[in-house]
């Protein structure tokens, strides 16, 4: 099985995020980027499927040096090779433009039996890109997947989806297929020192917009379906009463409030 695992670089969750001057995104110049958390679960699942069924795992990402960085981490975790979509023109892509570029790159690489993405990214968090990618490639998909059972001989797979209200649904679909992987499906491995050393010798193919046969109006900000008007910290229409003082004082005030005012104790 050839499995492609998509990785999005996002600011390290520990970073302090500040909105940029034009109020259209965050200041991202001095941030450290890591793989979006759900994408780690997707890559781990890809590696486990390869260990079981054989084949190769290819990691793919779009962006500048931060994308190369998450791809190297993916190679160190055990992926066999990497594809880096690297071009100034890709900047400002929305989910639609990103999915179209990824689709062209995957087509150029000869397609795949299985494509995995995280269920959603830590930045935009909409969970759209993977599903859009499936439509661009004309293959089936399943979202919010908490279990995968591949049957390469029958060219099918079963995916267990997590639904609302504590329900699960198992679906069967033909491969090639795309799955968006839910948090917690597995425990992602850490890269070993040996893996980090081995990663340096692995192939990292770099592709620009022109390599994908995409016109300028189809990529990056120009290819986006919406325009960002403003990024802002939401006003808190809050009823909250913040209790101050030392931890002991605040705790004492809280107990008093819960007993006398809210009367819930």
């Amino acid at each position: 099985m050839k499995i492609i695992s998509c990785i999005k670089p996002v600011p390290d969750p520990a970073s302090r995020l500040v909105i940029n001057e034009t109020k259209t995104w965050i200041k991202d110049q001095d941030l450290t980027f890591v793989a979006s958390e759900a994408d780690n679960y997707a890559l781990e699942e890809a590696l486990r499927l390869k260990e079981k069924h054989g084949g190769e795992v290819v990691v793919i990402s779009m962006g500048g040096e931060e994308a190369a960085r998450v791809l190297r981490s993916g190679l160190a975790m055990g992926a066999d090779r990497a594809i880096h979509l690297f071009d100034e023109k890709f900047k400002g892509a929305d989910e639609f433009a990103a999915a179209e570029a990824l689709a062209e790159a995957i087509r150029k690489d000869g397609g795949a039996d299985l494509i995995l993405t995280g269920v959603q990214s830590d930045d935009l968090g909409t969970g759209m890109t993977g599903v859009m990618l499936a439509e661009f490639l004309g293959i089936g998909h399943a979202t919010v997947v908490v279990g995968v059972e591949a049957n390469p001989d029958a060219k099918t797979l079963r995916a267990k989806r997590e639904l609302e209200g504590g329900m699960n649904e198992t679906v069967e679909l033909p491969v090639p297929a795309l799955l968006t992987i839910q948090f917690g499906i597995n425990q992602p491995r850490y890269a070993s020192l040996k893996g980090i050393m081995a990663a340096k010798k692995k192939e990292m193919k770099v592709l620009a917009a022109a390599d994908l046969g995409l016109a300028d109006h189809q990529v990056g900000r120009a290819g986006a379906m919406y325009e960002v008007k403003e990024v802002l910290i939401p006003e808190r229409k809050s009823r909250v009463e913040i209790l101050t003082g030392t931890p002991e004082e605040a705790a004492a005030k809280l107990v008093e409030k819960l007993r006398k005012e809210a009367k819930v104790l």
């Binding site: 997590e162 198992t170 679906v171 913040i242 931890p247």
Partner: protein, 326 residues
């Protein structure tokens, strides 16, 4: 026209459908566009009958045996045909395991904008501006859709109050014949309740819930200590369960349990909307978090902005002292 893709089961609209209708009715007032509810499925007469009493213009039934069970390819084919015929201004689906499963495919097929996870909207001149949450609800992003209609949006559960849906209507119910190529290539082979454990929190009067702020599994002891001193149950947010600090059965939120206790104490939980929808109807909510910007404070009644590892032992001591004294 504003289309709402109704979700339903057992012949009744799901609660999210009312939320979508509220969003549509509000957009309708600003843009002067009538609202139409779309019901896909098999034997949907009862759902359509229920929906027609809302203050909307029309209900369109797409009744087909191949739509009996939700699947993205059949939904996309059916809706693609309908949208080509009707040319609506806006199509609203739920940001649910159904809505975000098919809406992105439909957007690509139509090559039209999709704003996912909408929580609010504005009208700037004639332009529709949709707001969604980014960076785990720490920030909002206002986006303007580009090009021609139709525009697609999925609305976040909990963002629009379903109980404010306007009724008193008597909408016309019409049928639309979808041109489906056959059954879905994605077949549902099983549907079951995820494993439920001992921790049934649905009737717990007091819940102390811990999140990522606990930093590691061992630290969860401070939550259990407080729960014991106050006589409450323990819950957790999704990251805690994903990291296997606690079993899945403790999870509160959209993919876990929905709770409404007398007292809910959220400790080290930032308050992603997926968590909030599972606990925001609690009678009294307390948030303890060192990040004053955390969205959990938006729904809390009382808050302490400080290090939980200092606040919790102090609270536990007070309750233990009270017990010893009484």
């Amino acid at each position: 026209m504003i289309f709402v893709i109704a979700e339903h089961n057992n012949g009744r609209p799901k609660p999210i459908t009312n939320e979508l209708l509220v969003a549509a009715q509000r957009v309708s007032r600003e843009f002067g566009q009538p609202v139409t509810a779309i019901v896909l499925g098999e034997n949907t007469a009862a759902v359509a009958d229920d929906l027609k009493s809302r203050k909307i213009d029309r209900v369109i039934r797409i009744d087909d045996p191949n739509l009996a069970q939700y699947s993205p390819d059949t939904y996309v084919t059916a809706l693609n045909g309908l949208l080509a015929d009707e040319k609506p201004f806006l199509v609203i689906a739920g940001h649910t395991t159904q809505g975000y499963d098919f809406a992105p495919r439909l957007a690509v097929k139509l090559r039209r904008p999709l704003i996912a996870g909408m929580v609010d909207f504005e009208k700037h001149g004639d332009r529709l501006i949709l707001t969604r949450q980014i960076f785990n609800a720490k920030m909002n992003m206002k986006t303007a859709v580009r090009g021609e209609a139709p525009y697609l949006a999925t609305a976040s559960p909990g963002a629009f109050p379903g109980d404010e849906v306007e009724g008193g209507g008597n909408a016309e119910v019409v049928s639309y014949a979808a041109q489906l190529e056959g059954p879905s290539t994605r077949k549902v082979v099983d549907r079951a309740e995820a494993q439920k454990g001992q921790a049934d929190l649905s009737s717990a009067p007091i819940i102390i819930s811990g999140g990522r702020g606990l930093k590691q599994k061992e630290n969860f002891q401070v939550i259990f200590d407080l729960a014991q001193s106050i006589g409450g149950s323990v819950g957790a947010s999704r990251p805690v369960v994903d990291a296997e600090w606690l079993p899945r059965e403790y999870q509160i939120g959209s993919s876990g349990q929905t709770v409404s206790p007398r007292l809910y104490i959220a400790v080290g939980i930032s308050g992603a909307i997926q968590h909030l929808v599972g606990m925001q109807t609690s009678r009294c909510i307390v948030a303890i978090n060192k990040d004053a910007e955390a969205p959990i404070f938006k729904v809390a009644h009382y808050g302490i902005v400080d290090d939980l590892f200092k606040v919790l032992p102090a609270l536990t001591k007070i309750f233990n002292d009270l017990k010893a004294g009484s």
